[in-house]
Point group: C2
Amino acid sequence: MKLEHTKVLLPLAAGCGRLPPEQLPIQRMIFLLGGSGYVGQAYQQLLRAKGVPYRSLQRSTLDYTDPQVLLAALRRDRPDFLINAAGYTGKPNVDACEYDKTNCLFGNAVLPGRIAQACEEAGVPWGHVSSGCIFTGSRPDGSGFTEEDTPNFTFRQNNCSFYSGTKALGEEVLAGSGNVYLWRLRIPFNNIDSPRNYLSKLMNYDKLLDAANSISELDEFVAATFACWENHVPFGTYNVTNPGAVTTREVVDLIQQSGVCSKSFRFFTDETDFMNTAASTPRSNCIMDSGKLLAAGITMSPVHQAIENALARWQSSPTRTLAP
Amino acid sequence: MKLEHTKVLLPLAAGCGRLPPEQLPIQRMIFLLGGSGYVGQAYQQLLRAKGVPYRSLQRSTLDYTDPQVLLAALRRDRPDFLINAAGYTGKPNVDACEYDKTNCLFGNAVLPGRIAQACEEAGVPWGHVSSGCIFTGSRPDGSGFTEEDTPNFTFRQNNCSFYSGTKALGEEVLAGSGNVYLWRLRIPFNNIDSPRNYLSKLMNYDKLLDAANSISELDEFVAATFACWENHVPFGTYNVTNPGAVTTREVVDLIQQSGVCSKSFRFFTDETDFMNTAASTPRSNCIMDSGKLLAAGITMSPVHQAIENALARWQSSPTRTLAP
């Protein structure tokens, strides 16, 4: 099993201790699953910054993949909310899922169902980090897919990677569950160089595939999703991407304009060239409509601006060298 | 979790103790998973009858769904072979899987992958009870599907029950695994009245859907599959159905001719009528070709004869009443 987990943190964040106990607001406490992963770490940073007490469950000490174990923990600690940032994405990329189907299927489709079962029994509302990578392309008129559209990059279309198939099955397993948010993330990035950061990936791949995508600035993603719960937004599915879409060539232009990396980027001729030479499984490239989130009062910055901001505050990893 | 399990039995069957130790043949020992299920019980009966020592693993005492736990047991007990008869079929019928997708997906697709992982690491060959219900219809010329045909009643065709989807995913997860048999069972029956016996089901349903199917006499199924291992048949996928196909009306005629049940059977007008009034998810009705098994030297009786034999030796359940 390669699901992410991390150390158990103190249940109360330091910032909450400034007021005398009688003046403290009612303490909220959050359970976080997958806290050591790329997305989970961003949640930890957010919760610490907001002073929200949370417990990042570690599978080695509390096997939350066992619904009875999770249920007992929920009943004991009585968290107000649970965030599932655990999942199986494949490393270094989605191709790896093709070679570890058992764990991919378990982490992305069975685990969400087990969490739903435990949360339902314990009466704990929760949020699940789903993926927009269960879509490909755009609506016929070129606009983004809404939450009303049926995923079209799934096992049921027989056109997808095993990863996307399992993420779509995860949504299918959760269909009908109450008190749960399904937050669709897509191709996360931010200003911190990382093997999981889309901008870092583009700077480090030998050749790129040009495609239009809606993508998610990671820190905005975790803030927006947490705001769903804080603001009592109705439960359900939300596309949590920065408004708009961006092509790979546009991102590359922004990277070059920023001065972060000035190498000459090379592109595959087309998707066939990419599939023949660089990939074992098809990628989702798609445009999402994030209007439902906006209508719920939660804003994210337009995608080009989010990329510019990340590049303007870019922090290179000291251990990695970007090609000149 | 509703996977089948049963009591641990003595590892050595009584019949093996008749010879003095120095004359005993080399002891074989089998691990059986799902031994308390409808198929698993038939394996237990077979193994007892053959005097083959086996251990029927019980999840309550040894959680074989955890690959590390199973691996440790395999390394400790060193069985020669493992039979996986555990799976999630839905009770009273396949419709139930639509309402428990998490456990269905886990039992039918993740668990086989975990068993494969443990068996591979321990170097233990094994057999998996798969299902022919990942096909629908027949080949264009009306003949049965062979092991070379791609399953056509799966998530990837988007035409199937959740049960069939998960069984097909289970085969997909096992693709490329070495030292494993995939034995495709279809609509099991034998001479013992049971809620899981196809003949009992037909006698107890209010109305029937007429369709042509290849089906598996349960005791012949377990004998044929075990013979695969005993006879060193090459690993791989085998359709383990009684040769030929039979329509529901033909089975009903055989039931009436046998005198086991003389009620007037009623039929749905067609599949649409059936789906509209009696079922929540589509059924697999299909014809299989069992020639590969026969070519490997393992025979099963022709399907009509197998049904006649079962009815001729029919044992009614004392707790159940068949309509006159």
